[in-house]
Amino acid sequence: DTAVSQTPKYLVTQMGNDKSIKCEQNLGHDTMYWYKQDSKKFLKIMFSYNNKELIINETVPNRFSPKSPDKAHLNLHINSLELGDSAVYFCASSQSDRRWDGYTFGSGTRLTVV
Protein backbone atom coordinates (compact mmCIF):
# COMPACT_ATOMS: atom_id res chain seq x y z
CA ASP A 1 0.00 0.00 0.00
CA THR A 2 2.91 2.33 -0.79
CA ALA A 3 1.63 5.85 -1.51
CA VAL A 4 4.20 6.85 -4.17
CA SER A 5 6.21 4.05 -5.70
CA GLN A 6 9.13 4.36 -8.05
CA THR A 7 10.85 1.65 -10.02
CA PRO A 8 13.62 0.78 -10.19
CA LYS A 9 15.27 1.86 -6.93
CA TYR A 10 18.74 1.49 -8.44
CA LEU A 11 19.82 1.79 -12.04
CA VAL A 12 23.37 1.38 -13.34
CA THR A 13 23.88 1.92 -17.03
CA GLN A 14 26.46 2.92 -19.60
CA MET A 15 26.82 6.29 -21.26
CA GLY A 16 24.74 6.63 -24.36
CA ASN A 17 22.00 4.24 -23.25
CA ASP A 18 18.31 5.10 -22.94
CA LYS A 19 16.49 4.33 -19.69
CA SER A 20 13.12 4.90 -18.04
CA ILE A 21 12.00 5.39 -14.45
CA LYS A 22 8.39 4.72 -13.55
CA CYS A 23 6.30 6.37 -10.87
CA GLU A 24 2.83 5.60 -9.60
CA GLN A 25 0.78 7.14 -6.80
CA ASN A 26 -2.36 5.75 -5.19
CA LEU A 27 -3.26 8.86 -3.18
CA GLY A 28 -5.68 10.27 -5.73
CA HIS A 29 -3.50 13.37 -6.10
CA ASP A 30 -3.87 15.46 -9.26
CA THR A 31 -0.28 16.72 -9.50
CA MET A 32 2.97 14.81 -9.88
CA TYR A 33 6.59 15.93 -10.02
CA TRP A 34 10.10 14.83 -10.84
CA TYR A 35 12.98 16.20 -8.77
CA LYS A 36 16.70 15.62 -9.20
CA GLN A 37 19.00 15.37 -6.16
CA ASP A 38 22.61 15.89 -7.16
CA SER A 39 25.79 14.69 -5.47
CA LYS A 40 25.68 17.65 -3.08
CA LYS A 41 22.14 16.62 -2.07
CA PHE A 42 20.58 19.69 -3.67
CA LEU A 43 16.97 19.07 -4.75
CA LYS A 44 15.79 20.76 -7.91
CA ILE A 45 12.49 20.43 -9.70
CA MET A 46 12.55 19.09 -13.23
CA PHE A 47 8.92 18.71 -14.24
CA SER A 48 5.42 18.84 -12.87
CA TYR A 49 2.17 17.57 -14.32
CA ASN A 50 -1.34 18.48 -13.27
CA ASN A 51 -4.07 16.14 -14.51
CA LYS A 52 -1.73 14.85 -17.23
CA GLU A 53 -0.86 18.35 -18.42
CA LEU A 54 2.75 19.58 -18.28
CA ILE A 55 2.89 22.61 -15.99
CA ILE A 56 6.55 23.07 -15.10
CA ASN A 57 9.58 22.29 -17.27
CA GLU A 58 12.64 23.74 -15.57
CA THR A 59 15.20 24.08 -18.37
CA VAL A 60 15.88 20.38 -18.41
CA PRO A 61 17.79 19.00 -21.45
CA ASN A 62 15.40 17.62 -24.02
CA ARG A 63 17.03 14.20 -23.56
CA PHE A 64 14.66 14.00 -20.58
CA SER A 65 11.07 13.35 -21.56
CA PRO A 66 8.32 12.92 -18.98
CA LYS A 67 5.13 11.09 -19.85
CA SER A 68 1.90 11.02 -17.88
CA PRO A 69 -0.54 8.44 -19.26
CA ASP A 70 -3.00 9.24 -16.47
CA LYS A 71 -2.95 11.34 -13.33
CA ALA A 72 -1.72 8.42 -11.21
CA HIS A 73 1.41 7.81 -13.29
CA LEU A 74 4.38 9.93 -14.29
CA ASN A 75 7.29 8.26 -16.03
CA LEU A 76 10.67 9.72 -16.92
CA HIS A 77 12.54 8.63 -20.02
CA ILE A 78 16.15 9.65 -20.52
CA ASN A 79 17.90 9.35 -23.87
CA SER A 80 21.63 9.22 -24.52
CA LEU A 81 22.61 9.12 -20.88
CA GLU A 82 25.60 11.18 -19.81
CA LEU A 83 27.88 10.92 -16.77
CA GLY A 84 26.35 14.13 -15.38
CA ASP A 85 22.93 12.51 -15.25
CA SER A 86 24.10 10.40 -12.31
CA ALA A 87 21.89 11.45 -9.38
CA VAL A 88 18.92 10.40 -7.30
CA TYR A 89 15.60 11.09 -9.00
CA PHE A 90 12.54 11.57 -6.84
CA CYS A 91 8.96 11.36 -7.90
CA ALA A 92 6.40 13.16 -5.74
CA SER A 93 2.71 13.95 -5.74
CA SER A 94 0.37 16.49 -4.20
CA GLN A 95 -3.21 17.71 -4.40
CA SER A 96 -3.45 21.13 -5.96
CA ASP A 97 -6.21 22.41 -3.67
CA ARG A 98 -4.36 21.25 -0.53
CA ARG A 99 -1.13 23.20 -0.88
CA TRP A 100 -0.51 23.12 2.85
CA ASP A 101 0.04 19.35 2.66
CA GLY A 102 3.37 19.57 0.90
CA TYR A 103 4.42 16.61 -1.19
CA THR A 104 4.44 12.87 -0.72
CA PHE A 105 7.71 11.54 -2.11
CA GLY A 106 8.68 8.23 -3.57
CA SER A 107 11.78 6.52 -2.21
CA GLY A 108 13.95 7.73 -5.07
CA THR A 109 15.85 6.07 -7.91
CA ARG A 110 19.64 6.19 -7.76
CA LEU A 111 20.88 6.43 -11.32
CA THR A 112 24.56 5.74 -11.94
CA VAL A 113 25.96 6.31 -15.42
CA VAL A 114 29.34 4.67 -16.08
Binding site: Y33, F42, S48, A92, S96, R99, G102, Y103, F105, S107
Partner: protein, 119 residues
Protein backbone atom coordinates in the same frame (compact mmCIF):
# COMPACT_ATOMS: atom_id res chain seq x y z
CA UNK B 1 12.28 34.16 -7.90
CA UNK B 2 11.93 32.57 -4.53
CA UNK B 3 15.09 31.32 -2.83
CA UNK B 4 15.65 29.32 0.33
CA UNK B 5 18.95 29.41 2.21
CA UNK B 6 20.21 27.08 4.91
CA UNK B 7 23.48 28.54 6.14
CA UNK B 8 24.51 25.60 8.33
CA UNK B 9 25.88 22.73 6.21
CA UNK B 10 26.34 20.61 9.35
CA UNK B 11 25.14 20.64 12.94
CA UNK B 12 25.65 18.26 15.82
CA UNK B 13 23.84 17.71 19.11
CA UNK B 14 24.11 15.44 22.11
CA UNK B 15 21.30 12.99 22.68
CA UNK B 16 18.51 14.51 24.83
CA UNK B 17 19.70 18.07 24.12
CA UNK B 18 18.08 20.73 21.95
CA UNK B 19 19.28 21.93 18.55
CA UNK B 20 18.05 24.65 16.20
CA UNK B 21 18.45 24.54 12.42
CA UNK B 22 18.28 27.84 10.55
CA UNK B 23 16.49 28.72 7.34
CA UNK B 24 15.89 32.01 5.58
CA UNK B 25 13.92 32.62 2.43
CA UNK B 26 13.29 35.38 -0.02
CA UNK B 27 9.91 36.09 -1.54
CA UNK B 28 7.70 38.99 -2.48
CA UNK B 29 4.56 36.94 -1.87
CA UNK B 30 2.39 37.17 1.22
CA UNK B 31 0.62 33.84 0.82
CA UNK B 32 2.93 30.85 1.08
CA UNK B 33 3.77 27.74 3.03
CA UNK B 34 7.00 26.63 4.63
CA UNK B 35 8.07 23.07 5.36
CA UNK B 36 10.84 21.10 7.00
CA UNK B 37 11.64 17.72 5.49
CA UNK B 38 13.91 15.06 6.95
CA UNK B 39 16.00 12.75 4.77
CA UNK B 40 17.61 9.88 6.73
CA UNK B 41 20.25 7.63 5.15
CA UNK B 42 17.41 5.56 3.66
CA UNK B 43 16.92 8.70 1.42
CA UNK B 44 13.16 8.74 1.99
CA UNK B 45 11.87 12.32 2.23
CA UNK B 46 9.70 12.71 5.35
CA UNK B 47 7.62 15.77 6.17
CA UNK B 48 8.48 16.95 9.69
CA UNK B 49 6.46 20.13 10.14
CA UNK B 50 4.77 22.89 8.14
CA UNK B 51 3.83 26.52 8.67
CA UNK B 52 1.27 28.67 6.91
CA UNK B 53 2.51 32.22 6.37
CA UNK B 54 -0.75 33.86 7.40
CA UNK B 55 -0.70 32.12 10.78
CA UNK B 56 1.30 33.93 13.42
CA UNK B 57 1.35 30.99 15.81
CA UNK B 58 4.42 28.82 15.45
CA UNK B 59 3.74 25.22 14.44
CA UNK B 60 4.58 22.38 16.82
CA UNK B 61 4.70 18.63 16.24
CA UNK B 62 5.74 16.73 19.37
CA UNK B 63 9.49 17.40 19.85
CA UNK B 64 9.68 19.56 16.73
CA UNK B 65 8.74 23.23 16.68
CA UNK B 66 9.45 26.20 14.46
CA UNK B 67 10.28 29.83 15.05
CA UNK B 68 8.60 31.66 12.19
CA UNK B 69 9.59 35.31 11.81
CA UNK B 70 7.69 36.55 8.77
CA UNK B 71 9.15 40.04 8.66
CA UNK B 72 12.68 38.68 8.88
CA UNK B 73 11.81 35.84 6.46
CA UNK B 74 13.23 33.33 8.87
CA UNK B 75 11.96 29.82 9.60
CA UNK B 76 14.07 27.83 12.04
CA UNK B 77 13.46 24.30 13.29
CA UNK B 78 13.97 23.39 16.93
CA UNK B 79 14.38 19.76 17.89
CA UNK B 80 13.99 19.12 21.61
CA UNK B 81 15.14 16.01 23.48
CA UNK B 82 17.16 14.90 20.44
CA UNK B 83 17.17 11.20 19.69
CA UNK B 84 19.57 9.07 17.67
CA UNK B 85 16.83 8.57 15.10
CA UNK B 86 16.79 12.31 14.43
CA UNK B 87 20.15 12.04 12.67
CA UNK B 88 19.47 12.94 9.04
CA UNK B 89 19.68 15.67 6.46
CA UNK B 90 17.07 18.37 7.02
CA UNK B 91 15.66 20.48 4.22
CA UNK B 92 13.72 23.69 4.52
CA UNK B 93 11.26 24.28 1.66
CA UNK B 94 8.95 27.02 0.39
CA UNK B 95 5.77 26.79 -1.61
CA UNK B 96 3.67 29.59 -3.00
CA UNK B 97 0.17 29.65 -1.57
CA UNK B 98 -1.93 30.09 -4.69
CA UNK B 99 -2.46 27.83 -7.66
CA UNK B 100 -1.50 28.78 -11.16
CA UNK B 101 1.45 30.47 -12.82
CA UNK B 102 4.87 29.06 -13.59
CA UNK B 103 5.49 28.24 -9.92
CA UNK B 104 2.38 26.09 -9.73
CA UNK B 105 2.80 23.69 -6.84
CA UNK B 106 6.57 24.01 -6.92
CA UNK B 107 8.53 23.29 -3.72
CA UNK B 108 11.80 25.20 -3.58
CA UNK B 109 14.35 23.62 -1.27
CA UNK B 110 17.31 24.92 0.68
CA UNK B 111 20.71 23.28 0.45
CA UNK B 112 20.12 21.08 3.48
CA UNK B 113 21.71 20.70 6.93
CA UNK B 114 23.26 17.41 8.04
CA UNK B 115 22.36 16.75 11.67
CA UNK B 116 24.52 14.37 13.70
CA UNK B 117 23.28 13.13 17.08
CA UNK B 118 25.93 11.96 19.54
CA UNK B 119 25.01 9.35 22.16
Amino acid sequence: AQTVTQSQPEMSVQEAETVTLSCTYDTSESDYYLFWYKQPPSRQMILVIRQEAYKQQNATENRFSVNFQKAAKSFSLKISDSQLGDAAMYFCAYRIGYAGGTSYGKLTFGQGTILTVHP
